[in-house]
Protein backbone atom coordinates (compact mmCIF):
# COMPACT_ATOMS: atom_id res chain seq x y z
CA UNK A 1 0.00 0.00 0.00
CA UNK A 2 1.74 3.17 -1.12
CA UNK A 3 1.62 6.37 0.85
CA UNK A 4 -0.24 8.12 -1.93
CA UNK A 5 -3.18 5.76 -2.07
CA UNK A 6 -3.34 5.91 1.69
CA UNK A 7 -3.61 9.67 1.43
CA UNK A 8 -6.33 9.65 -1.19
CA UNK A 9 -8.25 7.13 0.85
CA UNK A 10 -8.11 9.51 3.78
CA UNK A 11 -9.19 12.40 1.61
CA UNK A 12 -12.14 10.35 0.37
CA UNK A 13 -13.21 9.58 3.88
CA UNK A 14 -13.02 13.25 4.73
CA UNK A 15 -15.10 14.17 1.72
CA UNK A 16 -17.78 11.67 2.62
CA UNK A 17 -17.96 12.88 6.22
CA UNK A 18 -18.35 16.45 4.95
CA UNK A 19 -21.11 15.19 2.72
CA UNK A 20 -22.84 13.75 5.74
CA UNK A 21 -22.66 17.07 7.57
CA UNK A 22 -24.16 18.92 4.62
CA UNK A 23 -26.85 16.29 4.12
CA UNK A 24 -27.88 16.25 7.76
CA UNK A 25 -27.83 20.04 8.06
CA UNK A 26 -29.81 20.50 4.86
CA UNK A 27 -32.36 17.84 5.83
CA UNK A 28 -33.14 19.37 9.24
CA UNK A 29 -33.09 22.89 7.85
CA UNK A 30 -35.38 21.84 4.99
CA UNK A 31 -37.77 20.25 7.47
CA UNK A 32 -38.05 23.51 9.39
CA UNK A 33 -38.60 25.45 6.16
CA UNK A 34 -41.42 23.06 5.22
CA UNK A 35 -42.99 23.40 8.66
CA UNK A 36 -42.80 27.18 8.41
CA UNK A 37 -44.32 27.28 4.93
CA UNK A 38 -47.10 24.82 5.76
CA UNK A 39 -47.78 26.25 9.22
CA UNK A 40 -51.48 27.07 8.55
CA UNK A 41 -52.05 23.50 7.34
CA UNK A 42 -50.10 21.80 10.11
CA UNK A 43 -51.12 23.84 13.14
CA UNK A 44 -54.34 22.59 14.75
CA UNK A 45 -55.27 26.07 16.02
CA UNK A 46 -54.55 29.74 15.51
CA UNK A 47 -51.61 30.32 17.90
CA UNK A 48 -53.19 33.54 19.13
CA UNK A 49 -56.65 32.02 19.72
CA UNK A 50 -57.64 31.00 23.22
CA UNK A 51 -58.46 27.47 22.23
CA UNK A 52 -58.46 25.82 25.64
CA UNK A 53 -58.36 26.40 29.37
CA UNK A 54 -55.06 27.77 30.77
CA UNK A 55 -52.28 25.27 31.53
CA UNK A 56 -53.99 22.18 30.17
CA UNK A 57 -51.94 18.99 30.16
CA UNK A 58 -51.29 17.29 26.80
CA UNK A 59 -54.41 15.63 25.38
CA UNK A 60 -55.78 14.58 22.01
CA UNK A 61 -57.21 18.08 21.54
CA UNK A 62 -53.95 19.79 22.56
CA UNK A 63 -51.02 17.49 21.87
CA UNK A 64 -48.60 19.71 23.79
CA UNK A 65 -51.16 21.17 26.18
CA UNK A 66 -51.91 24.89 26.48
CA UNK A 67 -49.94 27.82 27.91
CA UNK A 68 -50.94 30.06 30.80
CA UNK A 69 -53.27 32.03 28.50
CA UNK A 70 -54.98 28.92 27.13
CA UNK A 71 -53.29 28.99 23.72
CA UNK A 72 -52.30 25.76 21.98
CA UNK A 73 -48.55 25.18 22.48
CA UNK A 74 -48.11 22.95 19.41
CA UNK A 75 -49.57 25.67 17.18
CA UNK A 76 -47.29 28.26 18.78
CA UNK A 77 -44.35 25.95 18.14
CA UNK A 78 -45.24 25.44 14.46
CA UNK A 79 -45.79 29.15 13.79
CA UNK A 80 -42.61 29.94 15.73
CA UNK A 81 -40.57 28.37 12.91
CA UNK A 82 -41.76 31.21 10.68
CA UNK A 83 -40.34 33.88 12.97
CA UNK A 84 -36.97 32.22 13.51
CA UNK A 85 -36.52 31.56 9.80
CA UNK A 86 -37.76 35.00 8.74
CA UNK A 87 -35.36 36.75 11.12
CA UNK A 88 -32.58 34.36 10.12
CA UNK A 89 -33.13 35.03 6.41
CA UNK A 90 -33.61 38.78 6.75
CA UNK A 91 -30.63 39.29 9.04
CA UNK A 92 -28.42 37.00 6.97
CA UNK A 93 -29.21 38.93 3.79
CA UNK A 94 -28.61 42.23 5.58
CA UNK A 95 -25.35 41.06 7.15
CA UNK A 96 -23.93 39.65 3.94
CA UNK A 97 -25.07 42.61 1.82
CA UNK A 98 -23.31 45.06 4.15
CA UNK A 99 -20.25 42.82 4.46
CA UNK A 100 -20.10 42.35 0.71
CA UNK A 101 -20.38 46.06 0.01
CA UNK A 102 -17.70 47.10 2.52
CA UNK A 103 -15.42 44.13 1.82
CA UNK A 104 -15.54 44.48 -1.97
CA UNK A 105 -15.04 48.25 -1.89
CA UNK A 106 -12.15 48.00 0.57
CA UNK A 107 -10.48 45.12 -1.22
CA UNK A 108 -10.90 46.57 -4.70
CA UNK A 109 -10.20 50.23 -3.98
CA UNK A 110 -7.28 49.67 -1.58
CA UNK A 111 -5.36 52.65 -0.24
CA UNK A 112 -6.75 55.06 2.32
CA UNK A 113 -10.36 53.94 1.91
CA UNK A 114 -9.32 50.35 2.58
CA UNK A 115 -7.37 51.32 5.71
CA UNK A 116 -10.25 53.42 6.98
CA UNK A 117 -12.89 50.74 6.42
CA UNK A 118 -10.75 48.03 7.99
CA UNK A 119 -10.20 50.23 11.07
CA UNK A 120 -13.98 50.40 11.46
CA UNK A 121 -14.12 46.61 11.09
CA UNK A 122 -11.41 46.18 13.74
CA UNK A 123 -13.22 48.41 16.20
CA UNK A 124 -16.52 46.65 15.65
CA UNK A 125 -14.99 43.21 16.01
CA UNK A 126 -13.38 44.22 19.29
CA UNK A 127 -16.65 45.34 20.88
CA UNK A 128 -18.64 42.82 22.90
CA UNK A 129 -21.63 42.13 20.67
CA UNK A 130 -24.38 41.10 23.08
CA UNK A 131 -24.23 44.16 25.39
CA UNK A 132 -24.20 46.42 22.31
CA UNK A 133 -27.11 44.42 20.89
CA UNK A 134 -29.04 44.90 24.13
CA UNK A 135 -28.24 48.62 24.18
CA UNK A 136 -29.40 49.08 20.58
CA UNK A 137 -32.50 46.93 21.05
CA UNK A 138 -33.42 48.87 24.18
CA UNK A 139 -33.16 52.21 22.36
CA UNK A 140 -34.39 51.30 18.90
CA UNK A 141 -37.39 49.23 19.90
CA UNK A 142 -38.10 45.57 19.50
CA UNK A 143 -40.08 44.90 16.31
CA UNK A 144 -38.92 42.04 14.09
CA UNK A 145 -37.62 44.48 11.46
CA UNK A 146 -35.57 46.31 14.09
CA UNK A 147 -34.20 42.99 15.34
CA UNK A 148 -33.08 42.05 11.82
CA UNK A 149 -31.59 45.50 11.27
CA UNK A 150 -29.68 45.51 14.55
CA UNK A 151 -28.27 42.03 13.97
CA UNK A 152 -27.18 43.00 10.43
CA UNK A 153 -25.58 46.20 11.71
CA UNK A 154 -23.54 44.33 14.30
CA UNK A 155 -22.42 41.24 12.43
CA UNK A 156 -21.31 42.43 8.99
CA UNK A 157 -17.64 43.08 9.88
CA UNK A 158 -16.61 39.41 9.96
CA UNK A 159 -18.06 38.88 6.46
CA UNK A 160 -16.48 42.10 5.22
CA UNK A 161 -13.03 40.97 6.34
CA UNK A 162 -13.25 37.60 4.58
CA UNK A 163 -14.61 39.13 1.37
CA UNK A 164 -11.94 41.84 1.35
CA UNK A 165 -9.14 39.31 1.71
CA UNK A 166 -10.49 37.27 -1.19
CA UNK A 167 -11.04 40.30 -3.42
CA UNK A 168 -7.50 41.46 -2.71
CA UNK A 169 -6.04 38.06 -3.59
CA UNK A 170 -8.01 37.74 -6.81
CA UNK A 171 -7.17 41.29 -7.85
CA UNK A 172 -3.47 40.46 -7.68
CA UNK A 173 -3.77 37.39 -9.90
CA UNK A 174 -2.25 37.38 -13.37
CA UNK A 175 -5.44 36.92 -15.35
CA UNK A 176 -7.17 39.81 -13.61
CA UNK A 177 -4.17 42.08 -14.22
CA UNK A 178 -4.24 40.98 -17.85
CA UNK A 179 -7.93 41.74 -18.15
CA UNK A 180 -7.28 45.23 -16.81
CA UNK A 181 -4.32 45.80 -19.06
CA UNK A 182 -6.48 44.88 -22.02
CA UNK A 183 -8.82 47.69 -21.04
CA UNK A 184 -11.38 45.87 -18.90
CA UNK A 185 -13.22 48.42 -16.76
CA UNK A 186 -13.87 48.10 -13.03
CA UNK A 187 -17.44 46.98 -13.61
CA UNK A 188 -16.37 44.31 -16.06
CA UNK A 189 -13.56 42.98 -13.85
CA UNK A 190 -15.78 42.94 -10.77
CA UNK A 191 -18.56 41.12 -12.56
CA UNK A 192 -16.50 38.74 -14.67
CA UNK A 193 -13.60 37.85 -12.36
CA UNK A 194 -14.12 38.99 -8.79
CA UNK A 195 -17.74 37.97 -8.28
CA UNK A 196 -17.30 34.31 -9.27
CA UNK A 197 -14.42 34.08 -6.81
CA UNK A 198 -16.49 35.31 -3.87
CA UNK A 199 -19.74 33.47 -4.55
CA UNK A 200 -18.71 30.48 -2.36
CA UNK A 201 -17.78 32.91 0.42
CA UNK A 202 -21.18 34.56 0.10
CA UNK A 203 -22.91 31.18 0.43
CA UNK A 204 -20.92 30.32 3.54
CA UNK A 205 -21.43 33.82 4.93
CA UNK A 206 -25.20 33.55 4.50
CA UNK A 207 -25.39 30.24 6.35
CA UNK A 208 -23.11 31.41 9.17
CA UNK A 209 -24.98 34.70 9.51
CA UNK A 210 -28.35 32.93 9.51
CA UNK A 211 -27.23 30.63 12.33
CA UNK A 212 -26.02 33.55 14.42
CA UNK A 213 -29.16 35.56 13.69
CA UNK A 214 -31.46 32.71 14.70
CA UNK A 215 -29.56 32.32 17.97
CA UNK A 216 -29.55 36.07 18.61
CA UNK A 217 -33.27 36.50 17.87
CA UNK A 218 -34.16 33.70 20.26
CA UNK A 219 -31.75 35.12 22.83
CA UNK A 220 -33.20 38.63 22.59
CA UNK A 221 -36.75 37.28 22.88
CA UNK A 222 -35.64 35.18 25.84
CA UNK A 223 -34.25 38.31 27.51
CA UNK A 224 -37.48 40.21 26.81
CA UNK A 225 -36.05 42.39 24.03
CA UNK A 226 -37.85 40.70 21.18
CA UNK A 227 -41.09 41.65 19.49
CA UNK A 228 -43.68 40.99 22.22
CA UNK A 229 -46.38 40.26 19.64
CA UNK A 230 -44.32 37.76 17.62
CA UNK A 231 -44.68 34.32 19.18
CA UNK A 232 -41.14 33.13 18.67
CA UNK A 233 -39.50 30.13 20.35
CA UNK A 234 -37.44 32.43 22.56
CA UNK A 235 -40.57 34.21 23.76
CA UNK A 236 -42.29 30.87 24.47
CA UNK A 237 -39.39 29.85 26.70
CA UNK A 238 -39.50 33.20 28.44
CA UNK A 239 -43.21 32.88 29.21
CA UNK A 240 -42.76 29.28 30.35
CA UNK A 241 -39.94 30.23 32.72
CA UNK A 242 -42.00 33.11 34.08
CA UNK A 243 -44.50 30.66 35.52
CA UNK A 244 -43.63 30.23 39.19
CA UNK A 245 -42.61 26.70 40.09
CA UNK A 246 -42.50 25.54 36.47
CA UNK A 247 -39.55 23.24 37.12
CA UNK A 248 -41.18 21.60 40.13
CA UNK A 249 -43.95 20.06 37.99
CA UNK A 250 -43.47 18.18 34.73
CA UNK A 251 -45.01 21.06 32.78
CA UNK A 252 -41.58 22.03 31.39
CA UNK A 253 -41.64 18.80 29.38
CA UNK A 254 -44.20 20.05 26.87
CA UNK A 255 -43.86 23.80 27.31
CA UNK A 256 -40.15 24.56 27.77
CA UNK A 257 -38.43 21.60 26.16
CA UNK A 258 -40.04 21.69 22.65
CA UNK A 259 -39.12 25.32 21.79
CA UNK A 260 -35.67 24.79 23.31
CA UNK A 261 -35.11 21.68 21.22
CA UNK A 262 -36.40 23.38 18.05
CA UNK A 263 -34.11 26.37 18.40
CA UNK A 264 -31.13 24.14 19.23
CA UNK A 265 -31.82 21.82 16.29
CA UNK A 266 -32.19 24.71 13.85
CA UNK A 267 -28.95 26.33 15.03
CA UNK A 268 -27.07 23.02 14.88
CA UNK A 269 -28.43 22.30 11.39
CA UNK A 270 -27.12 25.68 10.20
CA UNK A 271 -23.83 25.10 12.05
CA UNK A 272 -23.28 21.75 10.33
CA UNK A 273 -24.29 23.18 6.98
CA UNK A 274 -21.69 25.90 7.58
CA UNK A 275 -18.98 23.42 8.57
CA UNK A 276 -19.73 21.39 5.45
CA UNK A 277 -19.61 24.45 3.18
CA UNK A 278 -16.40 25.64 4.84
CA UNK A 279 -14.85 22.23 4.18
CA UNK A 280 -15.81 22.57 0.51
CA UNK A 281 -14.22 26.04 0.44
CA UNK A 282 -10.90 24.89 1.86
CA UNK A 283 -10.42 21.28 0.79
CA UNK A 284 -7.05 21.26 2.61
CA UNK A 285 -8.65 22.09 5.93
CA UNK A 286 -8.24 19.22 8.32
CA UNK A 287 -11.07 18.76 10.73
Amino acid sequence: MSALSHQTERADRRASSLGLEITLGTAIFGLFVLIALAAPLLAPYDPHAFSGRPLERPSVAHLLGTNDAGQDILSELIYGARISLAVGLGAALGTVALGLLVGAVAGYAGGLLDTLLMRVVDVMLALPRLPLLILLAAFLGSGLVQTMGIISLLFWPATARVIRAQVQTVRQRGYVKMARNFGGGSGYVLRRHILPAIVPLIAFGLVAAAGRAVAMEAGLAFLGLGDPTAKSWGLMMRFALNLPGLLLTDRWLWWLLPPGLCITLLILALTYLGIGLEGRLHPGLKR
Partner: protein, 325 residues
Amino acid sequence: MRTRVVAYLVTLWIVLSLNFLLPRLLPGEPLSALLDPESSDYVFSAEVRAALEAYYGLDRPLPAQYFAYLKGAVTGDLGRSIRLNQPVAKLLAAHLPWTLLLTGTALGLASLSGLLGGAEAAWKRGSLADRLLTVTSVVAGNAPVYFVGMMLLIFLGAKLGWLPLAGGRTPFAHYDGPLAAVADVGRHLILPTLTLTLSLLGIQFLLVRNNLVSILGEEFMLVARAKGLRPARLKWNHALRNALLPFVAHLAAHAGLAITGAVFIETLFQYPGMGRLIFEAVGARDYPVIQGVFLVVSAAVLTANLLADWLNGRLDPRLAEEVGR
Protein backbone atom coordinates in the same frame (compact mmCIF):
# COMPACT_ATOMS: atom_id res chain seq x y z
CA MET B 1 2.78 47.47 21.24
CA ARG B 2 2.43 51.24 21.21
CA THR B 3 0.12 51.18 18.19
CA ARG B 4 -1.99 48.58 20.00
CA VAL B 5 -2.32 50.82 23.05
CA VAL B 6 -3.32 53.75 20.86
CA ALA B 7 -5.89 51.59 19.05
CA TYR B 8 -7.17 50.44 22.44
CA LEU B 9 -7.62 53.99 23.68
CA VAL B 10 -9.29 55.09 20.46
CA THR B 11 -11.73 52.15 20.63
CA LEU B 12 -12.49 52.96 24.24
CA TRP B 13 -13.20 56.55 23.27
CA ILE B 14 -15.53 55.36 20.49
CA VAL B 15 -17.41 53.20 23.01
CA LEU B 16 -17.79 56.19 25.33
CA SER B 17 -19.00 58.44 22.51
CA LEU B 18 -21.41 55.80 21.23
CA ASN B 19 -22.84 55.56 24.69
CA PHE B 20 -23.31 59.32 24.76
CA LEU B 21 -24.63 59.78 21.22
CA LEU B 22 -27.01 56.86 20.91
CA PRO B 23 -29.82 58.12 23.13
CA ARG B 24 -29.40 61.65 21.79
CA LEU B 25 -29.58 60.66 18.14
CA LEU B 26 -33.01 59.17 18.61
CA PRO B 27 -36.19 61.12 18.04
CA GLY B 28 -38.12 62.40 21.05
CA GLU B 29 -37.22 64.60 23.95
CA PRO B 30 -33.83 64.09 25.59
CA LEU B 31 -35.42 62.96 28.80
CA SER B 32 -36.68 59.85 27.03
CA ALA B 33 -33.08 58.67 27.18
CA LEU B 34 -33.44 58.49 30.93
CA LEU B 35 -37.07 57.63 31.24
CA ASP B 36 -39.21 55.59 28.89
CA PRO B 37 -42.44 57.52 28.14
CA GLU B 38 -44.29 54.20 28.43
CA SER B 39 -42.91 53.28 31.83
CA SER B 40 -44.91 53.74 35.00
CA ASP B 41 -42.21 56.01 36.46
CA TYR B 42 -42.79 58.61 33.78
CA VAL B 43 -43.65 62.11 34.98
CA PHE B 44 -46.16 64.04 32.98
CA SER B 45 -45.91 67.50 34.52
CA ALA B 46 -43.97 69.80 32.18
CA GLU B 47 -42.48 71.67 35.14
CA VAL B 48 -41.08 68.56 36.78
CA ARG B 49 -39.73 67.39 33.45
CA ALA B 50 -37.98 70.74 32.90
CA ALA B 51 -36.52 70.56 36.40
CA LEU B 52 -35.28 67.01 35.73
CA GLU B 53 -33.73 68.10 32.43
CA ALA B 54 -31.90 70.90 34.22
CA TYR B 55 -30.81 68.48 36.94
CA TYR B 56 -29.32 66.07 34.43
CA GLY B 57 -27.85 68.92 32.40
CA LEU B 58 -29.90 68.03 29.35
CA ASP B 59 -30.74 71.69 28.68
CA ARG B 60 -27.11 72.61 28.04
CA PRO B 61 -25.52 72.65 24.55
CA LEU B 62 -24.35 69.24 23.28
CA PRO B 63 -20.56 69.85 23.47
CA ALA B 64 -20.91 70.93 27.11
CA GLN B 65 -22.96 67.83 27.85
CA TYR B 66 -20.38 65.70 26.06
CA PHE B 67 -17.46 67.01 28.11
CA ALA B 68 -19.42 66.71 31.33
CA TYR B 69 -20.21 63.12 30.34
CA LEU B 70 -16.59 62.28 29.52
CA LYS B 71 -15.43 63.85 32.78
CA GLY B 72 -18.01 61.84 34.68
CA ALA B 73 -17.05 58.60 32.94
CA VAL B 74 -13.37 59.11 33.74
CA THR B 75 -14.03 59.95 37.38
CA GLY B 76 -16.45 57.06 37.79
CA ASP B 77 -19.66 59.08 37.79
CA LEU B 78 -22.01 57.19 35.48
CA GLY B 79 -25.27 58.80 36.51
CA ARG B 80 -28.07 57.42 38.65
CA SER B 81 -30.33 54.48 38.17
CA ILE B 82 -33.89 55.67 37.62
CA ARG B 83 -35.36 52.45 38.96
CA LEU B 84 -33.30 52.07 42.11
CA ASN B 85 -32.32 55.72 42.65
CA GLN B 86 -28.72 54.72 43.28
CA PRO B 87 -25.48 55.73 41.57
CA VAL B 88 -24.86 53.45 38.58
CA ALA B 89 -21.22 53.07 39.60
CA LYS B 90 -22.26 51.68 42.97
CA LEU B 91 -24.60 49.15 41.34
CA LEU B 92 -21.87 48.07 38.94
CA ALA B 93 -19.41 47.63 41.79
CA ALA B 94 -21.88 45.40 43.63
CA HIS B 95 -22.58 43.16 40.61
CA LEU B 96 -19.20 43.01 38.92
CA PRO B 97 -17.50 40.57 41.37
CA TRP B 98 -20.20 37.92 40.79
CA THR B 99 -19.72 38.05 37.03
CA LEU B 100 -15.95 37.98 37.39
CA LEU B 101 -16.26 34.94 39.66
CA LEU B 102 -18.55 33.15 37.21
CA THR B 103 -16.73 33.97 33.96
CA GLY B 104 -13.27 33.63 35.51
CA THR B 105 -13.95 30.17 36.95
CA ALA B 106 -15.63 28.95 33.76
CA LEU B 107 -12.93 30.37 31.49
CA GLY B 108 -10.20 28.77 33.62
CA LEU B 109 -11.89 25.37 33.77
CA ALA B 110 -12.76 25.38 30.07
CA SER B 111 -9.23 26.46 29.06
CA LEU B 112 -7.59 23.75 31.13
CA SER B 113 -9.85 20.94 29.97
CA GLY B 114 -9.93 22.29 26.42
CA LEU B 115 -6.14 22.21 26.20
CA LEU B 116 -5.78 18.75 27.73
CA GLY B 117 -8.78 17.24 25.91
CA GLY B 118 -7.91 18.88 22.61
CA ALA B 119 -4.34 17.57 22.82
CA GLU B 120 -5.50 14.02 23.58
CA ALA B 121 -8.10 14.07 20.81
CA ALA B 122 -5.65 15.41 18.21
CA TRP B 123 -3.06 12.82 19.29
CA LYS B 124 -5.60 10.06 18.73
CA ARG B 125 -7.30 11.74 15.77
CA GLY B 126 -9.78 9.62 13.90
CA SER B 127 -10.40 7.39 16.92
CA LEU B 128 -13.87 6.83 18.27
CA ALA B 129 -13.12 9.00 21.32
CA ASP B 130 -11.91 11.82 19.09
CA ARG B 131 -14.99 11.71 16.91
CA LEU B 132 -17.35 11.56 19.89
CA LEU B 133 -15.60 14.47 21.58
CA THR B 134 -15.65 16.52 18.37
CA VAL B 135 -19.38 16.00 17.81
CA THR B 136 -20.13 16.76 21.47
CA SER B 137 -18.05 19.92 21.27
CA VAL B 138 -19.81 21.20 18.17
CA VAL B 139 -23.14 20.63 19.93
CA ALA B 140 -22.03 22.11 23.28
CA GLY B 141 -20.36 25.10 21.64
CA ASN B 142 -23.27 26.00 19.37
CA ALA B 143 -26.40 25.06 21.31
CA PRO B 144 -27.93 28.14 22.96
CA VAL B 145 -26.37 28.48 26.36
CA TYR B 146 -29.72 29.14 28.05
CA PHE B 147 -31.06 25.83 26.73
CA VAL B 148 -28.07 23.90 28.07
CA GLY B 149 -28.51 25.75 31.36
CA MET B 150 -32.21 24.88 31.49
CA MET B 151 -31.49 21.19 31.05
CA LEU B 152 -28.85 21.22 33.79
CA LEU B 153 -31.21 23.21 36.00
CA ILE B 154 -34.02 20.73 35.47
CA PHE B 155 -32.03 17.55 35.94
CA LEU B 156 -29.34 18.45 38.48
CA GLY B 157 -31.33 21.14 40.27
CA ALA B 158 -35.03 20.33 40.20
CA LYS B 159 -35.18 16.55 39.60
CA LEU B 160 -32.29 15.41 41.75
CA GLY B 161 -32.40 18.37 44.10
CA TRP B 162 -28.63 18.33 44.50
CA LEU B 163 -28.02 21.99 43.82
CA PRO B 164 -29.79 25.28 44.49
CA LEU B 165 -32.01 26.50 41.64
CA ALA B 166 -31.27 30.20 41.71
CA GLY B 167 -29.34 33.06 43.25
CA GLY B 168 -25.75 33.67 44.23
CA ARG B 169 -26.19 32.56 47.86
CA THR B 170 -28.93 31.54 50.26
CA PRO B 171 -31.12 34.55 51.05
CA PHE B 172 -31.06 35.76 54.66
CA ALA B 173 -28.51 33.10 55.57
CA HIS B 174 -26.54 33.39 58.82
CA TYR B 175 -23.16 31.84 58.39
CA ASP B 176 -21.34 30.20 61.27
CA GLY B 177 -18.02 31.19 59.83
CA PRO B 178 -16.25 32.34 56.68
CA LEU B 179 -15.93 28.72 55.56
CA ALA B 180 -19.71 28.21 55.58
CA ALA B 181 -20.14 31.38 53.53
CA VAL B 182 -17.62 30.21 50.94
CA ALA B 183 -19.30 26.79 50.77
CA ASP B 184 -22.70 28.40 50.21
CA VAL B 185 -21.42 30.69 47.45
CA GLY B 186 -19.61 27.72 45.92
CA ARG B 187 -22.74 25.56 45.87
CA HIS B 188 -24.65 28.30 44.06
CA LEU B 189 -21.78 28.75 41.63
CA ILE B 190 -21.69 25.13 40.41
CA LEU B 191 -24.63 25.06 37.97
CA PRO B 192 -24.01 28.44 36.29
CA THR B 193 -20.30 27.67 36.00
CA LEU B 194 -20.94 24.20 34.60
CA THR B 195 -23.24 25.66 31.95
CA LEU B 196 -20.78 28.34 30.89
CA THR B 197 -17.84 25.93 31.00
CA LEU B 198 -19.60 23.48 28.68
CA SER B 199 -20.37 26.19 26.17
CA LEU B 200 -16.82 27.60 26.19
CA LEU B 201 -15.23 24.16 26.28
CA GLY B 202 -16.92 23.20 23.03
CA ILE B 203 -15.26 26.11 21.25
CA GLN B 204 -11.85 25.88 22.94
CA PHE B 205 -11.59 22.13 22.47
CA LEU B 206 -12.17 22.42 18.72
CA LEU B 207 -9.65 25.25 18.42
CA VAL B 208 -6.91 23.31 20.22
CA ARG B 209 -7.68 20.05 18.47
CA ASN B 210 -7.74 21.45 14.94
CA ASN B 211 -4.58 23.47 15.50
CA LEU B 212 -2.78 20.51 16.96
CA VAL B 213 -3.81 18.25 14.09
CA SER B 214 -2.10 20.57 11.60
CA ILE B 215 0.94 21.00 13.88
CA LEU B 216 1.34 17.23 14.11
CA GLY B 217 1.80 17.20 10.32
CA GLU B 218 4.64 19.76 10.45
CA GLU B 219 8.19 18.81 9.60
CA PHE B 220 9.64 19.72 12.98
CA MET B 221 7.38 17.10 14.52
CA LEU B 222 8.77 14.53 12.10
CA VAL B 223 12.31 15.56 13.08
CA ALA B 224 11.45 15.36 16.77
CA ARG B 225 10.02 11.89 16.30
CA ALA B 226 13.06 10.86 14.27
CA LYS B 227 15.26 11.95 17.16
CA GLY B 228 13.51 9.25 19.19
CA LEU B 229 11.82 11.51 21.72
CA ARG B 230 9.26 9.94 24.01
CA PRO B 231 5.63 10.39 22.89
CA ALA B 232 4.74 12.36 26.04
CA ARG B 233 7.53 14.82 25.33
CA LEU B 234 6.47 15.10 21.70
CA LYS B 235 2.90 15.75 22.64
CA TRP B 236 3.32 18.21 25.49
CA ASN B 237 6.61 19.98 24.80
CA HIS B 238 6.65 20.12 21.03
CA ALA B 239 3.07 20.03 19.80
CA LEU B 240 0.99 21.59 22.56
CA ARG B 241 3.45 24.42 23.08
CA ASN B 242 2.93 25.55 19.50
CA ALA B 243 -0.82 25.17 19.75
CA LEU B 244 -0.72 27.51 22.72
CA LEU B 245 -0.18 30.57 20.52
CA PRO B 246 -3.49 30.58 18.64
CA PHE B 247 -5.14 29.56 21.89
CA VAL B 248 -3.89 32.66 23.70
CA ALA B 249 -4.69 34.79 20.65
CA HIS B 250 -8.31 33.68 20.87
CA LEU B 251 -8.55 34.02 24.64
CA ALA B 252 -9.84 37.59 24.46
CA ALA B 253 -12.53 36.57 21.99
CA HIS B 254 -13.45 33.76 24.37
CA ALA B 255 -13.69 36.27 27.22
CA GLY B 256 -16.20 38.13 25.07
CA LEU B 257 -18.13 34.91 24.52
CA ALA B 258 -18.04 34.24 28.25
CA ILE B 259 -19.66 37.63 28.88
CA THR B 260 -22.37 36.90 26.32
CA GLY B 261 -23.00 33.52 27.94
CA ALA B 262 -23.03 35.09 31.39
CA VAL B 263 -25.83 37.49 30.43
CA PHE B 264 -28.09 34.53 29.60
CA ILE B 265 -26.91 32.31 32.43
CA GLU B 266 -27.28 34.98 35.10
CA THR B 267 -30.77 35.71 33.81
CA LEU B 268 -31.70 32.03 33.89
CA PHE B 269 -30.18 31.26 37.29
CA GLN B 270 -31.06 34.68 38.76
CA TYR B 271 -27.37 35.06 39.52
CA PRO B 272 -26.65 38.55 40.90
CA GLY B 273 -24.03 39.62 38.33
CA MET B 274 -23.85 42.18 35.50
CA GLY B 275 -26.01 40.08 33.20
CA ARG B 276 -28.81 40.00 35.73
CA LEU B 277 -28.37 43.75 36.25
CA ILE B 278 -28.69 44.57 32.56
CA PHE B 279 -31.65 42.18 32.26
CA GLU B 280 -33.52 43.89 35.08
CA ALA B 281 -32.57 47.32 33.74
CA VAL B 282 -33.93 46.36 30.32
CA GLY B 283 -37.20 45.28 31.90
CA ALA B 284 -37.59 48.68 33.57
CA ARG B 285 -36.07 50.62 30.61
CA ASP B 286 -33.52 51.93 33.11
CA TYR B 287 -31.23 53.42 30.44
CA PRO B 288 -28.37 54.74 32.62
CA VAL B 289 -27.82 51.24 34.03
CA ILE B 290 -27.92 49.59 30.58
CA GLN B 291 -25.35 52.13 29.36
CA GLY B 292 -23.19 51.62 32.44
CA VAL B 293 -23.10 47.84 31.99
CA PHE B 294 -22.30 48.26 28.29
CA LEU B 295 -19.46 50.61 29.15
CA VAL B 296 -17.87 48.41 31.81
CA VAL B 297 -18.23 45.19 29.81
CA SER B 298 -16.79 46.83 26.69
CA ALA B 299 -13.86 48.21 28.65
CA ALA B 300 -13.23 44.77 30.18
CA VAL B 301 -13.32 42.96 26.83
CA LEU B 302 -11.08 45.59 25.18
CA THR B 303 -8.60 45.29 28.04
CA ALA B 304 -8.64 41.52 27.66
CA ASN B 305 -7.83 42.00 23.97
CA LEU B 306 -4.88 44.22 24.80
CA LEU B 307 -3.59 41.76 27.42
CA ALA B 308 -3.88 38.85 24.99
CA ASP B 309 -1.91 40.82 22.39
CA TRP B 310 0.79 41.59 24.92
CA LEU B 311 0.92 38.01 26.18
CA ASN B 312 1.13 36.65 22.65
CA GLY B 313 4.00 38.99 21.94
CA ARG B 314 5.83 37.61 24.97
CA LEU B 315 5.14 34.02 23.90
CA ASP B 316 6.13 34.54 20.29
CA PRO B 317 9.00 36.96 19.66
CA ARG B 318 8.17 37.07 15.94
CA LEU B 319 4.82 38.65 16.78
CA ALA B 320 6.37 41.11 19.24
CA GLU B 321 8.59 42.45 16.46
CA GLU B 322 5.63 42.81 14.15
CA VAL B 323 3.53 44.51 16.80
CA GLY B 324 6.39 46.77 17.85
CA ARG B 325 6.74 48.29 14.44
